[in-house]
């Protein structure tokens, strides 16, 4: 039934477990450090976060690229009576999110100054890293739920403790809203496990439950809806998105970066791993609705973003638009759309994460995020403006940078199964240019006032923080093949799984260069 002690890769060291445990231990160590040494907190925390990051890079290099199965699997029995295990593993869908989580945390920990209380700040960030790793790696529903909920706490604390003027309202809203979504998911998790038990015994193993497909159609659909609700709040999908602008705007820079780069991905990742995988039929059934909501998010998010007066809020709404593309891609069920969706999760993490860093740096200089209070920054701080431009173009989706690659694959793949949705979503590229360039013009172009003139340019330290983001933006834009190669097998298996358990059939690709005219119009099946 369950392969005990499975560790498929050569090394028997349970690296995935270590990745979760090391930052958690780090949080503990930081808490135990003497309060008299505040300057020690972040460097020591960063060491732990960096060890975890190094392990995520190790997993990346050792990951077998043409293997669809879960790798580095590790199972420990946890609550045997209920069939609950500590079961972790990584595949092409989770791999890059794990790497992203690994790399982002040490960067923001070192790069963004909390200004006060470095000890709890460091500890919460480390716990956030541990929880996010856990959520992306969990292959047991119970374990996933625990991790999915755990990450709420540090983020709540970061927003409430280190945020801006409206931080309490934003933190409470964030916590209650996302918590409300996952309450029903817990019910669904228990239902799926117990109703699937049958003769084989109860299990919370995701793989096992996906294979069993024991639920009746209607039950499965209900359970799917409960899962989906939790995830679409997390993504967030229109109209469940209004916690996001508040949380993002009020969160400290590090919180915003991790929220955008890592935590929102829990939603889209959850839809893929638990929505599509556990409930293939229900996913197909609900696809038109969810794809529609995704496309509404693309257009609506962009329109609302354009009217924002707060630069950070604008970036937050741009997230709604970008995540909408991913949702469309997920519910289009083609190799390209899913690959694009997974890649776009990473892309969005890089470009929106970098945008939040930049807005944070601007705030540090000017103590304002209001677009109308800024002008002519490009004249005062040309290098800062240059970095902002690159990240902005990535967010707009200019080819050669990462944003295009994901969006293009999502759209070209979705065109096969969701033609009109795609045609509308593609118009989002016009709006993305509109709101970002308009904001750029108001903030960076124009005549600088004396206050603007005094805005200092990027420091070397800030440049070093942004450099990995820009490097990723360029690399993924020019050579995404290493990522695509590793994502593709997992995605293909997932689509095949959906085909096996529903009436969905992926469109057969048109043959390149049809030699014989008679073959025209035939489907090939």
């Amino acid at each position: 039934m369950i392969e005990l002690f499975a560790s498929q890769n050569a090394s028997s060291f349970p690296v995935l477990n270590a990745m979760i445990i090391v930052p958690a231990m780090g949080a503990l160590v930081v808490v135990l450090l003497p309060n008299s040494r505040p300057e020690m907190m972040r460097p020591i925390g960063a060491i732990f976060a960096s060890i975890a990051a190094a392990m995520s890079l190790y997993v990346m290099t050792q990951f077998s690229s043409h293997d669809a199965a879960f790798q580095f699997e590790s199972i420990q029995s946890w609550i045997p009576a209920l069939g609950i295990n500590w079961h972790v593993g990584v595949d092409g869908i989770s791999l890059w999110l794990v790497v992203l989580t690994g790399l982002i945390t040490p960067i923001v920990l070192l790069g963004v100054d909390p200004h006060h209380d470095p000890k709890p700040y460091t500890a919460w960030l480390l716990l956030l890293q541990a929880g996010s790793f856990g959520a992306f790696l969990a292959l047991d529903l119970f374990l996933f739920f625990v991790m999915f909920e755990i990450v709420l706490v540090p983020m709540y604390m970061l927003i409430g403790g280190w945020g801006y003027e409206d931080r309490r309202y934003a933190a409470t809203k964030f916590f209650l809203y996302t918590m409300a979504g996952s309450a029903l998911m817990l019910v669904a998790i228990v239902s799926v496990a117990t109703l699937s038990a049958g003769d084989q015994g109860i299990t919370f193993s995701v793989i096992e439950l996906a294979e069993r497909q024991a639920l009746s159609t209607n039950t499965a659909r209900l359970c799917f809806l409960a899962f989906a609700l939790a995830f679409i709040i997390k993504v967030p999908v229109f109209p469940m998105h209004t916690w996001l602008p508040d949380a993002h705007t009020q969160a400290p820079t590090a919180g915003s970066v991790v929220l955008a780069a890592v935590m929102l991905k829990l939603g889209t990742y959850g839809l893929l791993r638990f929505g599509l995988y556990l409930f293939p039929e229900a996913s197909v059934w609900s696809a038109p609705t969810l794809a529609t909501l995704g496309v509404i998010g693309v257009i609506y998010g962009a329109i609302v973003a354009a009217m924002q007066k707060d630069l950070k809020r604008l970036v937050a709404y741009s997230s709604v638009a970008h995540m909408g593309f991913i949702v469309l891609g997920i519910f289009a069920f083609t190799t390209q759309s899913l690959e694009g969706g997974v890649l776009q999760m990473v892309n969005h993490g890089l470009s929106t994460g970098a945008l939040f860093l930049l807005v944070g740096m601007l705030y540090e200089r000017r103590k304002t995020r209001a677009i109308e209070e800024l002008s002519g920054i490009q004249s005062a701080a040309p290098i800062f403006a240059g970095f902002f431009t690159i990240v902005m173009l990535s967010s707009i989706g200019v080819p050669g940078l990462n944003g295009f690659v994901g969006e293009f694959l999502v759209l070209i793949g979705s065109y096969e199964t969701r033609r009109w949705w795609t045609i509308i979503a593609a118009a989002g590229v016009i709006l993305a240019a509109l709101y970002l360039l308009w904001a750029y013009q108001r903030v960076f172009h124009g005549e600088p006032t004396p206050t603007d003139e005094a805005t200092p340019d990027l420091t070397l330290r800030e440049g070093l923080i942004l450099a990995p983001f820009v490097a990723g933006i360029l690399f993924l834009g020019i050579y995404p093949k290493p990522l695509l190669d590793r994502i593709e097998p997992a995605v293909d298996v997932l689509i095949a799984h959906i085909e096996d358990h529903s009436d969905y059939e992926r469109p057969s690709p048109a043959a390149p260069v049809v030699v014989d005219l008679d073959q025209l119009g035939e489907d090939g099946h």
Binding site: K173, L176, Y177, H241, T242, W243, Y300, I303, V304, A306, M307, T334, T335, Q336, E339, G376, Q378, S379, V398, P399, G400, F404, V405, F408, L409, L411, I412, G413, Y415, E416, T422, I423, A426, A427, V429, I430, A433, L434, L437, W438, Q441, H445, G446, E447, P448, I478, Y479, P480, K481, L484, E488, D492, A510, A511, P512, V513, V514, L517, L520, G521
Partner: protein, 625 residues
């Protein structure tokens, strides 16, 4: 030798990286020279590739060479390579892009003298050239799109180069966003082509059978949307006149000679998928744009605005040629236009430079005396665009008018529109020449107009030479002299054949020459000898470009902003209002039942008693049932 194709875009890219890293250190004029050398070297490599291609047999399909660098977007059955296609069409485009581009780089060394962001200007120019060459050499739609968006981004940077000016910043943004409408068409067309044919590679698309009629027409029209955005055709033409906010070398290179012709290139490249229905639409869009923009050019006062509308109008000619199936004529006009329009723009830049940044033609006049080289070269450009034989413009325009005449459905009408446009072109260009270089001096003595430095006049002279003799690449007099047509032949599945007899051809040519001369004569009478009163020749309606732009602006500012603001309000009041409402409702309900927790033992005792009683009652009731 064709294997060297990768070096053509690589050289300006190296220039870009060099200037990015060390631009400020290099400073003026070294930064400019590095960029110019990169562009010039790129031209020399293009020449080498061209010679290599000529060495191959044209009839056995050998004049098509693909170089794949790496897999760019491999996803399932989708295969997108970072690859180049060397064929007669891409090399023809690259020759004038790098050639004219290098000259404009050289010109800019002098023109940008003293600008605080001197090296940055050349950095953008090199990045632009790289993007343009990717657009031209890409072996599939997606690489072309990379270049397509790259030139769009560079155009944005360069238009808003002097971004402290509100108008420049706005113009840059407007250009980018308007172009994005076209990009939407490009993207959806790409999706549809891949969906129907399973490939995005040009050579495979060319070999594929025709798509179903509706799909084919839809794809063609989407490509037209894309091309109309980049090439400023109606209804997406509004960004180009504003783009004149950029430095003049940018107007010459990006917004006249190279980038704006990429729409024409795209349609010619995709000639195999364009359906007959779509071709008619393309022809009508082209003819309408040609006439519209020529009318607008008549009443402009800004020396660059005249040329901007003229560019839109000439691009309309190229679309008219494509719509009539005469792809070679379109490319021919792209090339001759690149020569004479770059020349005219650089000439206008020289005038602006010499006049100390004055752009209003009403404040010029008699400048031929102060700026003899600029005047002489400008006159060559004027005669070329006016269609005076044997200057370059005559030959290419004549071929387009002939093709329009032969168009199957509405040929004579298209031809007539083209003819009127030719008359107007000759008129407004003559008006410009007379206002700027002839007549009375209308500038103050402090203006001190002077001839520009050699780095600026050398490109003028070379381009003037090209504008005079450029028509020689495709002379219709003897069949063997149609060099361009024979060279480009392998690119087309169904080469266009002119069906008219010699008499018709000669008659049409004579008529178009007469139209040009008529335009010039009217201009002489009104603007040179002042025999015709000029006060009614510049109607406000035309000066304001028939209010198309201002109508757009009003719609965007009015309905657009209102709608956007409404969405933002709905988000705040209703979507988020509901969320906060749930919170408030919970609080309200909590307030309601809060008195139950009064803290008095007697109240709780009553509660316990009532509860116990209820349980007993329920249990009994259950047992009875």
């Amino acid at each position: 030798m064709v294997e060297l194709v990768w070096l053509i875009p690589a050289l300006p890219l190296i220039g870009f990286v060099l200037l990015l890293v060390a631009g400020n250190l290099l400073g003026e004029p070294r930064a400019g020279w590095i960029a110019t050398i990169a562009a010039g070297a790129s031209f020399l490599v293009t020449l080498t590739v061209f010679v290599g291609l000529l060495g191959r047999d044209s009839h056995s399909g050998e004049r098509s060479y693909e170089l794949v660098l790496f897999e760019w977007l491999p996803a399932g059955s989708l295969q997108v390579d970072a690859g180049f296609l060397v064929d007669p069409l891409s090399v023809t485009m690259a020759l004038f892009v790098t050639g004219v581009g290098a000259l404009i780089h050289l010109y800019s060394i002098g023109y940008m003298h003293g600008d605080p962001k001197y090296s940055k200007f050349f950095l953008y120019l090199n990045l632009f050239l790289f993007s343009m060459l990717m657009l031209v050499f890409g072996n599939n739609l997606v690489v072309t799109f990379l270049g397509w968006e790259g030139v769009g981004a560079c155009s944005y940077f360069l238009i808003s180069f002097w971004h402290h000016r509100e108008s420049a910043a706005t113009a840059g943004k407007k250009a980018f966003v308007t172009n994005r409408v076209g990009d939407w068409g490009f993207m959806v067309a790409t999706f549809a082509i891949w969906s129907a044919l399973g490939t995005v590679t040009y050579t495979e698309i060319a070999k594929s059978p025709a798509m179903a009629a509706t799909t084919g027409t839809a794809v063609s029209l989407l490509l037209l949307v894309a091309a109309a955005g980049k090439s400023a055709q109606l209804p997406l033409s509004v960004w180009l006149p504003d783009a004149m906010e950029g430095p003049t070398p940018v107007s010459a290179m990006v917004h006249a000679a190279t980038m704006v012709t990429s729409g024409v290139y795209l349609l010619v490249r995709m000639n195999n998928v364009l359906t007959d229905d779509a071709l008619i639409v393309i022809a009508v869009v082209g003819a309408a744009t040609a006439l519209f923009a020529a009318l607008c050019a008549v009443a402009q006062h800004d020396i660059k605005k005249v040329l901007a509308y003229s560019t839109i109008s000439q691009l309309g000619y190229m679309f008219l040629a494509i719509g009539s199936g005469a792809y070679v004529a379109a490319i021919f006009h792209v090339i001759t236009h690149a020569f004479f329009k770059a020349l005219l723009f650089l000439g206008s830049g020289s005038v602006i430079h010499g006049m100390g940044d004055e752009q209003d033609m009403r404040k010029m006049g008699a400048l031929r005396l102060a700026m003899p080289i600029t005047a002489a070269t400008f006159i060559a450009g004027w005669l070329a665009i006016a269609g005076v034989p044997p200057f370059a413009g005559f030959w290419s325009k004549d071929e387009i008018l002939l093709a329009a005449w032969e168009q199957k459905n509405i040929g004579p009408l298209l031809w007539f529109v083209g003819l009127i446009t030719a008359l107007l072109t000759a008129y407004y260009m003559s008006r410009q020449v007379f206002l700027v270089f002839f007549g009375d001096q209308r500038w103050d003595e402090e203006a001190h107009p002077h001839e520009s430095s050699w780095t600026m006049t050398t490109p003028l002279c070379i381009l003037a030479g090209a504008a005079i003799i450029g028509g020689a690449i495709n002379l219709p007099l003897v069949k063997d002299w149609l060099v361009l047509e024979h060279f480009l032949e392998p690119v087309f599945n169904h080469p266009h054949q002119f069906s008219s007899g010699t008499t018709t051809k000669v008659a049409l040519a004579v008529i178009s020459v007469c139209a040009g001369l008529a335009g010039i004569s009217i201009a002489i009478l009104s603007w040179l000898t002042r025999r015709i009163p000029t006060d009614r020749l510049e109607p406000e309606f035309l000066e304001n470009a028939m209010h198309v732009d201002s109508t757009y602006a009003r719609v965007v500012a009015g309905i657009g902003t209102t709608g956007f603001q409404a969405a933002a309000d709905i988000d705040k009041q209703i979507v988020d209002g509901a969320v906060n409402g749930v919170g408030k409702l919970t609080m309200r309900m909590a307030q309601f039942i809060r008195p139950a927790q009064s803290g008095y033992i007697r109240n709780y005792a009553i509660g316990v008693a009532v509860g116990a009683l209820a349980i007993v009652v329920l249990l009994t009731w259950g047992l009875l049932l």
